[in-house]
Each structure stands twice: as C-alpha cells, then as structure tokens.
Amino acid sequence: MAMAIRVFLLLLIFLSSAIVSFSLYEDQVGLMDWHQRYIGKVKHAVFHTQKTGRKRVIVSTEENVVASLDLRLGEIFWRHVLGTKDAIDGVDIALGKYVITLSSEGTTLRAWNLPDGQMVWETSLHSAQHSKSLLSVPTNLKVDKDYPIIVFGGGYLHAVSAIDGEVLWKKDFTEEGFEIQRVLQPPGSSIIYVLGFLNSSEAVVYQIDSKSGEVVAQKSMVFPGGFSGEISSVSNDKVVVLDSTRSILVTIGFLDGDISFQKTQISDIVEDSGKAEILSPLLSNMLAVKVNKRTIFVRVGGEGKLEVVDSLSDEIAMSDSLPVADDQEAFASVHHEGSKIHLMVKLVNDLDTVLLRESIQMDQHRGRVHKVFINNYIRTDRTNGFRALIVMEDHSLLLLQQGAIVWSREEGLASVTDVTTVELPVAKDGVSVAKVEHTLLEWLKGHMLKLKGSLLLASPEEVVAIQELRLKSSGKNKLTRDHNGFRKLILALTRAGKLFALHTGDGRIVWSMLLNSPSKSEACERPNGINLYQWQVPHHHAMDKNPSVLVVGRCGSDSSAPGVLSFVDVYTGKELSSSDIGHSVVQVMPLPFTDSTEQRLHLIADTDGHVHLYPKTSEALSIFQREFQNVYWYTVGADDGIIRGHAMKSSCSGETADEYCFSTRELWTVVFPSESEKIISTLTRKPNEVVHTQAKVNTDQDLLYKYVSKNLLFVATVSPKGAGEIGSVTPEESSLVVYLIDTITGRILHRLSHQGCQGPVHAVFSENWVVYHYFNLRAHKYEVTVVEIYDQSRAENKNVWKLILGKHNLTAPITSYSRPEVLTKSQSYFFAQSVKTIAVTSTTKGITSKQLLIGTIGDQILALDKRFVDPRRTLNPSQAEKEEGIIPLTDSLPIIPQSYVTHSLKVEGLRGIVAAPTKLESTTHVFAYGVDLFYTRLAPSKTYDSLTDDFSYALLLITIVALVAAIYITWVLSEKKELSEKWR
C-alpha cells in the first residue's frame, strides 16, 4: 500500500511538473550560481609594454588558451580557448599591435588584435608531415617595412605577411630525415639563416632571401658523432648542441654561410661528468647546462670557446634573458630555500652584478617554481625595475614585484580531473561561525526593502540595494552544515596533483593541498593524482570525527607505475597519512562495506591480476572474508576488445606473504570480433545513486518493475573503420552497437545495433535507463537514444492480494545467476547539437523527476527533462497518457533556450558535469568543470518543498498582524454596535 501511495505521489509530482520550463529571471543570476574563469598552466608569456596602453601580458597555456592578462590585477582582458586538438606552439607580438599564435603543429597561424582580442586574420599553412614547429617573428620592426613572419611546421617553411596573413612564399623541406632546428633573422638583414640537421648527423645551413624565399646559399657539414637534438642558440650566428652521447658540447658557428664546429668535452670544463642536458632558457652568449643535478652556466666566447662562469647546486628556474639599458642583458633566476623563494635578476655578462634580489614567503602547497618570465620597467626614480611572472608546480600563476606577490591565479583549477562533494561540519556551540547574522533591526530593514521590491514600490537605488542584499545573502557562505544541504564543499583534484576544496556558496577556495610523495624518492617526487574517493563519511560520529577522502595517485604516467595513496582530512585539508603501496593501480573499486570507524573498504587491482584490500586492518579483512564469495569485478580491455569478469579466488599464493592481497579467477569473457567492433565507451551507474520507486505505473494501471541492478555495464562499440572522425566513413561501413552486460555473469541483457551510425558516444546511465548520443551518418544528424530496461520476473507481483498475503517475491534476495527476464524499450530522437558530456541530476531520495544535463559543443549546459527521452512517447497519447505526462512523439528533441542552466555564461573547454544531491529533495547541486568552473543549484521539478529565497517573511508577518488587528477592531466595533442596539 505504501508503494501505491508513493507511486501516486510520484504521479502527482509528475503532473505538477508538467508545465515546468526551467529558467531564471535576470535578477536571479548569481544568486546561487557562480562562475570562475581560468586559463590553465602558462607555457609562454610575452610582455607588452605599449607606451600608451595599459600594461598587459600575453600568455598561452597548456589548455590551449591564449589570453591577455592585466599585469596589475591579474584579471583577464580577453581570452580565446582554441580547440582541444589545437595546441599552441608559439606566441609572439608582431607590428606592436597583433598577437601572433602558431598552433596545431605549425599549421594554423592566427593574429589577434592586441587591445580587444578580436581575430584579425587566420592562415592555415600547408603541412605534409609531423614535425616540430617554429615561430619566428622579426623584432625591432620599422613600421614602413613589412618583414615577414617565418613559420616552420609540417615540413614547410612559410613566410607570412604580418599585416594580412598572406603567405608570401613557401619552401619545401620535406626531405627525408631533415629537421629544421633554428631559424635566425639577423636584424636589419634580408637574409634568413635556416639551420637544420639531416639524419641527426649533418648540419645544413640555408641562407634564404626573406623577400623571395630563394635559397641564396647552402652549406652542409657532417658531424661524425651525431646530435642529440638539444639545442640552444646563444647569438645570431652561433648555436650550441649536445652530441648524441650527451658528453660533448658542439658550438656551431655559421657566420656568413660557413659552418664551423667546435667541440668541447663537458668533462674538460667541469670536474664531475655525466649525462648533460641543455636547459631551455635563452641567454645571450651563454647557455645553461644541467650536469649531475648541478646547473652550470657556460659562456660562449667569441671564437666558440666555452668557459664555465658559474655553477649552482640548487634546483633553480630561469627566465630568458632580456635587454636592459646599455646593451646589457639580464635574466632572472628563482630558487627555493625553506618556505621562501629567492628571486634574483643578474646581468648575463657579469653574473656577480645582481640587479635585484628579493625573497618572498611562499605557500608550501604551491610546490616548486616551474617557469619564470621577467619584464623590466622604469621605476619612479628612473632605475630599472623588474617584475617576474612565475608558474608554480601546482600550475598557479603569480606576479612578483617589489618583493611581494602582487596577484596570484589558481590556474590548477583549469585542469580538474576528478570531483567529489562532501558535507561541511555540523554547527556546534562554541565554534565561532563567521559573523554573518546581523541585528534584528537590520534584518527587518532588509525585509522591508524586499517587501517594497515585491510591491513594486522600490526606487532604482533600492532595487540595487535589494539585489546586493540577495547576492550577499547571509548564510550562504558559512562554513557549517545547513538544514537544506545547500552548503557543501566541492573537492576537485587537478592534473598537477593538487586538491582544492571549494565552497558551494561563492566558489572560494577553503583550502588546497598539494599531494606529496611519502618516500621522497628520486623517481617519484610528485605523484600525479588519478582519482578521488570518499574514504570515511562519519554518520554516527559526525560531531567528533572529520570525514576524509582517499586520493589515489601514481608515480609516473605509465599504468604499471607504483601507486600512492593519500588520505586527506576534508575539514582541515591536512594529509592524514600517505603511503607508497608498492603495486600498480589499474582500477579502484569502492566496496559497499564499511568498518566500525565507517571507513569504506576499497579494492585496488594491479597489473598482475591481483587485488589488494584497503584499509589494511584485520577488521576490514574479516568483513571482506565474510563477503569473499560474493565479490566480483570486471576489466575492460579497450585495446583488445575483450571484457573479462573475475571473482575472488584465494589469498596471493607464494610470492608475497600479504594477507590483504588476493588472486582472482576469470569467470566470463565477452570477445568483440576485432574486425567488426571496437569498444569506444563503457559506463556504469553511479554506485551511490538512490532509486526511490522500483515500479512504474502504466496508463492502463499496469505495473512495470524497473530492472535496477548495480551490476550493469553499458558498452558501445563501433566498427573499427568508424572509430575516426565523423564523416570519414560512408554509412555502409560504420555501425554502432550498444550492449547492456551483467557484470556478475557476463550475460548480455540487451544488444542493439545502429546501422550507419558513428561515435563518439556520450552516455548517461541512471536507475534503469541509459541515454546515449551519437552521430547518424545516414540522416547527417546527431541522435539520442534511450534504453529502459524492465524486470519481467517480478511482473506477477501486480496482484494486490498477493502483496497483502505476503505471497510475493519482492523481498527475496536477487541473484544474478537466475536467468533474467528483462524487457527493454527504446526510442531514438534527433538532437540538433553536438555534445561534450552528459550527466543527470540526482536528488537525496530520488523522488524528483530527473533532468539530463547536456554539455553542448558551445560549452553550455542544457537541462533537458527526462520525459522528453521517454521510450513510451507515442504519436497521439491518449488522455490517460497525457495525464501521466507523456509528451507526443516528435522526431527530434527540443532545445529550449531558457533551459540552459548556464544562462549567458560559457564553461570554456567543458569536460565534465557532476551532480550531487542536497538534503532538500527538490534540489541538486550541479558543478561543471573545464577550463572554467561553474556551479549552480537546480530544482528539476521546481522547489516544491521549500519557500523561495526571496520569500517575504515581512509581508507574511505584516499580513498576520494586520489580520489580528482587523479582527480585534471589528470585534470591538461589533460589541459597541450590539450594546447600542440593546440600548435602543
């Protein structure tokens, strides 16, 4: 009966939401959403010191962003996010007004207007092969002379006019084994020197006329030892290279077209020899070499003589050299000492002259300095001042000037890899909560203002005040748990291995922590984070225990590299412990068991086919032993096209005496024929998802039981030919097959093939349905298909009498070994947009109807009601079906502009959407990450269980008071009247 009531309630909710079209009003923007803009880890920085304009710096980043930043505040003036495959190779400023970027392996050259970032021109350059790319923009240009931009990429040397992007000439260097190393344009000369290596053993210098592109002269010379490819250009006519043994420095001079080699043994100039490495900074007439962890500065003399000038044992970061007054060049170097960093600017010619020496207190959780860029300016006292832009290990970007950090940007947040949400601490007595509650008078004043606003009596200033009041709404930013669960912490793990805790109220960083390697060994100084798991979520001890998360990291990028576990306290951001686990990490499986301290048991699979149990306590082991027989897991071999199911077998035999290590046995395989199918996407349900109603009521009062199994795996395969770009195959050659596989027994429960369709497949799996998005080659459109799966074995439980008499099998344990009797329903719809990712809203109890959150190609998030992708939609729904909320069938899904949850904002480079429930059933947190971060709260069926934020309590209060007064007055009046009546 309770079920029936619930079903009825659900139906009511469906009905009540029938007219919902989610959207928000203009003044609601920013009330519960926030948006943060980032650019990513900076690769190149070019300072622009235009005399009139404001000081700016142009940066290009690893997230393929080119941006112009304000040097005083660190704000973004403009930025452009290029596509994921459009990596930026070089950035420079040409003609003093254009930013030139070279991207996509030297095939795309673009010019952006410096003040506002408008694209001025774009040229795609011919490319024949993969090669490294070089961008050379001539400096000290006279305005009247149009020196071309020289670009090398894809085997061709191009000269491009900086004014309109026209290709002036191109020269073919696609010759076998030839690699261009340097392009030098001596200032004032019309000859370009192109230095390349043929088969890494022969140096070739071409002199090319920069006007016509004709080869004026060509010289080559064989170097017997061969080059290693590391090169540093020290002046206009000299480069220094390392030979292939990395023990000889070769100075190549190509003055006037003559090539000369000069060899210097590294062991001759420094005592301790070893493999050398040329560091990247470009210093004039000098180069920096790293030998045996020591940084050695080597000066290149006039005749190619090398001499050691300085040698430092610290690990330092250096900038390129920069011309300062009087033909002097200066460079900056930064090294660490304890919690401080020391910035020094020295003259290149005279390393003892230190122009600037500053030490700055630096947060330990920023790691080491990775990159330094310097820029000089004239101080008020007419001396040279320097500012340095530094990139830290956690990808953050800081500007140092006058011994202080002027601004910093947490650019690590542009590369979030995993996200989870955690509760805030419970508000306790004595714990001082940030002072946000104000006096009663202020409270009343605020409400009076709101009242005025709602009665349309407010003046424009008051409207502004109201808006401000709402934005800063009192309790939003507290660091304690609230009744509705609106305040939470979002934990974000970044690619740099830093963990950030963001507050949902305003997106501020509550704490951040850089992962450390426990062993501090050479091989693994800084592990890179892979995933984030809820380790301990105290419910019973919520008052006195802090929750913690498990960060699984890996030393190195290889999957067989040893893993690192780190446990982090969520409230304080301190690392509780970390350990080198001594085995690789392929897969981490949270188990549905917790021990007495509410630590969740996790299994970690390694490359040898063993699984390891964590935490390594005897209690966890005994819990695990109890369920030993019922633990299964699976692996997806995307390369060989085989999905394997495994069960536990026994403790690891022999080789290790580790009682927490278990060997497994193979139970089932699904083998996709390699000539016709290739796995492109797999997906499971979220393990913590709550399903409220197990059954669905049909219009004809019939029950359908949802097949709600946590062990379902969605797999999508395409024919190998169709795995490439959309449109690279004909419809006949490509097909897409989707599977629903039970991961315990390996049964294929559902299999559906889409002929003439192609990936990429983006899917979302929730409750008993999967929605996936792919491209239909026949229709030339994107399609969305929904598959719902229902359990038929429980179908006979419809009889009420059976339910009353207890003769149903609803409480019987379900085993995967029973033959499943399932019924699937599916339907396809056209969808007008290309999709980057799909997610689904999730609420505490799963009662609220769901919305699909579709990250579109325009980096926005579209909220689409699940009812639109219902397989039961029919062309002419009957009256009963309409009442149930079934929408008439259309061949495409509607895109309602108001249902973009990102409203006018863009989450640039969108990569993922995470939905987490609040305590209030109607609402859900939505967090989207990419280069930008975006957070909002959604109520898919409107907030039916709470009053809105701007509900006027004052109005309610006044109404009640007025009513009471009115009652009293009328009572007195009637008394009087009655009295006078009686006296009459």
């Binding site: 083998v671 033959r819 009797e821 396809s828």
Partner: protein
C-alpha cells in the same frame, strides 16, 4: 501507433518470410519452451531466434528433437565447434559439440542456422569433480571458440555459473549464444529459470543434461518516425481534429454551477422548513427580518 506497429510487424514478417520459409507457426513453440526469452522483444529478434533451432542431442539423453526444414542452398556449409568445460580452476576439456549450418548471404554476411548440440555425459571423474563443486558452491565454467569457422578465433568466450544453480531433476542448462556473423561474442550460461539464493546443496537425481540453446544476433534499433511516416501521421492528426472531442459527462461539465445551486437549494429548503415552524406565517417580510436580527 498500433497501426504503425502492425505495419512494421507485417513488413518485417514479409522480409523474413521470404528467406525463412516456414517460420511463423514454430515461433510459438519456441516461445512456449523458452518462456519470456526475447518474447517481448521487437519482432526482428524473435525471428532471428527462431531461425536457430535448439535441439539437444538425443543419443542417451532425454530431450526432445525438433527439426527445422528449410531449403538448403548451395552457399550453406556445415560447421562444428566444441563446448569445453572446467570444474572450478581445472583445465578445460571437451564437453559437447555444436553443429550448425553456416548460411552465407549475398551481401557478404554469414549467419548460423540449424544449430544442434550434442552433450557428452559426465564421466565418473567428472561426476566426482562436479560433486565437489556442488559441495563447495564453486564455479562450473564452459567455453566456446570466439569464431566458429576458424576456432578458437581471437580468444575463447568463457561463461560460468555456480554449480548449485544447475541441478534440478537432471542437470538443466541454458545457453544463449550471441553471434555476430560467424563470431561468437558472448555466451550466457546458466539454469533455465531462477536460481534460489541462498543456494542449497542438492545432488541431481539424474546425471544427464537437459540443454536449451538459443542463438541471438543483434537487433536493429527502432527508428524514429521518418518524415514520410510523419506525413501520414500528420494526416491522421488532421482527421483526429475533425472528429469532435469525446463528450464529457454532464457532471464533469457543469459541476461548478451545480454545487452552488445545490447549496442554494439546500439553504432554501432549511429556510422553508424554518418558516413552517414559525407559528406566525402571514406577517410582513420587513418585521420578520427585524425579529430575526434582534434574536441574533
């Protein structure tokens, strides 16, 4: 929608009936035997399923034989592949043979038809091994080659079941072989019906296998109504609009008037009855009102 489905059904039937001549009546038999397997699936699979006959071999074993009659074409060729089994973690050994006819289509595809299966009986050691499995609630594993033309193909397709799920009267087993052309993608293996949990230790009464086999290939995705269909639908829609909406009941239409009317009537009735109680009936209305007002 019903019309559409019917149309679709007839259409598919037409297509398939041209290739499999005598299908339709046997389909029902199949459905009877295998319960709901594929029973509620869209039509194409059913036909595919029925094209595969499931006929366990009958040398010493009980099961029924069913034969399919379809004209063998010259393109057909016979294939055989073996089923292998393993007890727990033991090595795989032959356990039976599948034989089928490989039908090559003009468009280059291949499908298996007329699948037959002959299961070997357990030998004495195998019986012991199986008993051990039953005792320990261990896995009984089977495997098939992933390619039937050139076994084992890429790799063997493995499936396993807890041994305690199999024994009934005899040993009941149920195979669903998922095919893609001549490749076997996966095999679902287990008891034909439910497997109780917790699993009870029970020895089979007869040591003979009762096997059921189904071949399955992928089904085509249902299409969204294409524009031609939508035109038809549009026509229907217009028709539907011309048709007047169903008449609502009198009560449904006029309840908002009826309820106040009823209240008024009730009020009037009580008033009348009150008036009847009043002894002084013939007085002027004005004084009566005054009286009642005073009484208040």
């Amino acid at each position: 929608m019903a019309k559409l489905t019917l149309l679709l059904f007839l259409f598919t039937c037409f297509i398939f009936s041209s290739s499999f001549a005598f299908q339709s009546d046997e389909l029902l038999v199949d459905d009877d035997e295998f319960g709901l397997e594929g029973g509620a699936k869209p039509h194409s699979t059913e036909l595919y399923t029925s094209s595969s006959s499931s006929s366990p071999q009958q040398q010493q074993q009980t099961p029924t034989i069913r034969k399919r009659y379809s004209d063998p074409t010259d393109l057909d060729s016979k294939v055989q592949f073996t089923l292998q089994h393993a007890f727990g973690d033991s090595d795989f050994s032959p356990a039976g043979t599948f034989s089928a006819r490989l039908k090559s289509w003009s468009h280059g595809g291949k499908t298996l038809t007329k699948l037959r299966f002959s299961r070997n009986d357990f030998s004495a050691e195998e019986k012991d091994a199986f008993k051990n499995l039953l005792k320990g609630d261990e896995f009984y594993r089977i495997r098939l080659p992933s390619n039937v033309i050139s076994p084992p193909g890429k790799e063997f397709v493995i499936a396993s079941v807890r041994a305690r799920c199999l024994p009934r009267d005899g040993l009941d087993e149920h195979f669903i072989i998922h095919m893609e052309g001549a490749n076997i993608l996966a095999v679902s293996y287990g008891s034909p019906g439910a497997c109780q949990y917790p699993r009870q230790f029970k020895l089979p009464a007869k040591w003979s296998f009762n096997s059921h086999t189904i071949l399955k290939s992928s089904e085509q995705a249902p299409r969204t109504p294409i524009f031609t269909e939508e035109k038809i639908i549009g026509g229907e829609n217009v028709e539907g609009e011309v048709e007047p909406p169903p008449e609502r009941s009198f009560w449904a239409k006029y309840w908002m008037y009826l309820i106040p009317l009823g209240l008024v009537v009730m009020n009037a009735v009580t008033q009348v009855s009150n008036m009847a109680e009043e002894p002084t009936g013939g007085q002027a209305g004005g004084s009566q009102v005054q009286q009642s007002a005073r009484r208040r």
